[in-house]
Symmetry: C2
Subunit: 256 residues, 2 copies
Amino acid sequence: MTIIFYDIPSTLPENAWSLNTWKVRYCLNYKGIAYRTEWVEYPDIESHCKKLGIKPTDKRDDGSDEYTLPAIHDPSTGVYLAESILIADYLDKTYPDTPPVLPAHTLGLQVAFVEAFGNSLKGLAGFILPNVCSALNPPSMQYFRRTREAAFGKKLEDLVPQGETAVQKWATFKESLGKADSWYATMDSKLEGELKNTQFLMGDTLSFADINIAGYLIWLRIVWGEDNERWQEMLTWHGGRWKGLMEKLKKYETVV
Amino acid sequence: MTIIFYDIPSTLPENAWSLNTWKVRYCLNYKGIAYRTEWVEYPDIESHCKKLGIKPTDKRDDGSDEYTLPAIHDPSTGVYLAESILIADYLDKTYPDTPPVLPAHTLGLQVAFVEAFGNSLKGLAGFILPNVCSALNPPSMQYFRRTREAAFGKKLEDLVPQGETAVQKWATFKESLGKADSWYATMDSKLEGELKNTQFLMGDTLSFADINIAGYLIWLRIVWGEDNERWQEMLTWHGGRWKGLMEKLKKYETVV
């Protein structure tokens, strides 16, 4: 049976843009599991999840439940589930004949990795959130602006760094991505010849850690656009690490 | 042949106290590799490493090389090596018949884990660094005080939180350790019955991630002393997670 994958739409040609939902799409495509996407606008996510019995994934500062996408429904098991790495774990367990994205009992390590990577990214928000907002359909756009401006305490447009601040924030982002590059580099150093610099974080095995990073990268590429000069610059960073990762995952970019 | 393991001595009954050197001792004991410890006081570490050709592990803020322990010398290969996780990787590769601490190509993930865990620990320094200083031999004590007071910009004694600040910092530390507990909990949720809550971050396989955390725990236990009320309180935290981890690693605590 076909899994139903809940994602957030946009006005962009790819429709799909969200970094977190992209992680699940990469997993589904990599595993070759049949699915179709149902598109849910931001203001409808909470009621959608409550109606289907999909649990909240977080608490807001005021203590109320927060509902987020990605989520899936698997008609073959009756399961409704949110949160990208939990969905990945569910897919690994339920479809053991597909390639695992959390191999060798690494779920706990991969959860820690996702947090380490997310926390290590500094300086990026102002460069991308205003573009995300502009790419959404009107109902989601209004919702996104209202919630993000409340969170940051300023207009989205005022988040965009200018002049010397922009130079510094961009350098900080590059440096923080360099930290992730160093995690790959410790694996590079174990490998010889051609494999070197062409592999995944777990060597020659793709895993959720790579997909997690690719989620960020494809988010930037789609929201900024392929020709954006910051994106083009990023492709040259860290010995082409991120360019190479995107090329390796290109075959799992299909939106269905 | 017997590996030589370079560690920093103290006035405490166990002699060994350093969280980072303990990680390597746990690895050596777990693997059952023959070794003996050579004790190097803090002010001698740089000259010791330079003399033996052990590379620096970091840069100081002023750009100069920083040399740290743990380090090892393996007479059977001629290798001299510093940094706990690199030593772990070397031991895994050089002694493939011993149980791996970086199983299933997880070096890159484990490096990220070590950083995530270290960065997630907030509020602890003031509770422990003055005790560390008091536990050292005079040459190391003077060195430790001078370098740490320069780094923090205040007397070690003034780092110790007082009154309400102490309550808050201790709660912050508990909360940050709770983050690591949640990484274990995602694995717990995969397990059934007796295994649940008795396992390691990679399920039933001990790995460097657990040893990394145990390094922090044994550091606190030894430097504070077993009867310290903060230590006794920590043993009750997070469903006994840390008490259980220490019990499972107790057989690898031998100092030789």
